[in-house]
Symmetry: C2
Subunit: 217 residues, 2 copies
DNA sequence: TTTTGTGAACTAGTTCACAGCT
DNA sequence: AGCTGTGAACTAGTTCACAAAA
């Protein structure tokens, strides 16, 4: 009986979308483990996610031979592999920029800390809000101190919920402070060096998508 | 001088991503119009969005010959075409499900109403919150009345910010009530008939994506 | 027998490069 | 001369179909 091994992966060959799907699989496996399920086939996972089974096998096979032919995947084992691949077997220090409605909502979102993302500091432009000092035990600091504080606090990721007019400037200073990854909620295209990883969540685009399909069918 | 015309489009040929990009272009054009810019080339738009100019021309050409060779695109005209294509020259009636932190944040998000999405009603499970009656003038109703009220109110889209455990059930009743489009924030794959348009916003997946790239580089 | 892992075939989406208008 | 619109070439991503393993 040979232990399934992590392949040494040529990262360039892994499709972009595979990574997002690994995240989904991980959530599915967490659920299956809670249910006490021990093994699962690519076919069963595919049904659950509405995907093709070969795609799931291929996604996983980029990183290793995690399955057993005739049996399927060991739920706990695969889950650990996915956590490992996604870099979730550690804690990430995250800074939140902007404490408006959305910022506050994200701050209380349990899903982040559950996945190992710890919001270490909040930056705000409004002096009144900064004067409040902290929220849920997390310090609130003036946004112009970010460049200095981010390295001191060892922050690796930033979440931007600032107004669109401020977003590019904030993003620039975040990058100058050595942060390499940004989750952006501001509705504009951030111009940043290509080595900085950016994911943008655009609520209006999503709704307008739905509008298009309803409208034109 | 011939008027640029809307092509009769074979919708099956339009790539999925084109629609999302049209939304971005629309935002860019709104901005350019505010700046008093009259015409814009695909090249200039491409620089702004970090895209390829041919892609922009192709995206637009699915729907009509909106440009003028040697000149570019008329900003106001193109903006109107895009609003038309995306179905934004009308108001959409939207129902919000779940009045937690995220639900409240979305309610106060100005971007939705600005784009013509009007939240007509909020549905909540908690009786205490329902007892509050309304929020920002929008009625709050018990979630089990949704199936009855949605058609009465002429709601066409639903935004789901309910807990994952409730989301599938809520989605089912929304669909039974004749709603054809759902913007889903619950972190699970909704199982719905294929004619229902669903867009899911998954905050954890986005962060885990960033984690992967930081971790593995 | 069951289910993986994967080359081959296929489908979708992007970019090139240039003819065709203005 | 300048910029669009688009076929052709290319690149990326998905699904098929089957040999190999348990």
């Amino acid at each position: 009986m040979n232990k399934p091994e992590r392949k040494s992966v040529d990262l360039d060959k892994v499709p972009e979308h595979t990574i997002s799907r690994l995240s989904l699989y991980l959530r599915g496996l967490n659920y299956l483990e809670e249910q006490g399920v021990l093994t699962v086939s690519s076919e069963a996972l595919a049904r659950h996610f509405g995907l093709n089974a070969a795609q799931i096998r291929k996604d996983l096979a980029y990183f290793g031979d995690f399955g057993v032919r005739g049996v399927g995947y060991n739920v706990i084992e695969l889950r650990e592999h996915l956590r490992d691949i996604l870099g979730l077997n550690r804690n990430w220090r995250v800074a939140l920029f902007g404490l408006g409605n959305l910022g506050r909502a994200l701050l209380s979102y349990r899903g982040f800390s559950k996945a190992g993302f710890n919001i270490a500091v909040v930056f705000e432009a409004s002096p009144e809000i900064v004067a409040q000092g902290e929220i849920h035990g997390i310090p609130i600091r003036p946004i112009d101190q970010a460049k200095q504080l981010l390295p001191e606090l060892g922050v690796q990721m930033a979440i931007l919920t600032v107004p669109a007019t401020a977003a590019q400037e904030v993003a620039n200073s975040v990058v100058e402070a050595g942060v390499g990854a940004i989750l952006n909620f501001a509705p504009l295209p951030l111009q940043l060096p290509p080595e900085i990883k950016v994911r943008s969540v655009d609520l209006t685009v999503n709704l307008e998508n739905l509008s298009y399909f309803l409208h034109s069918s």
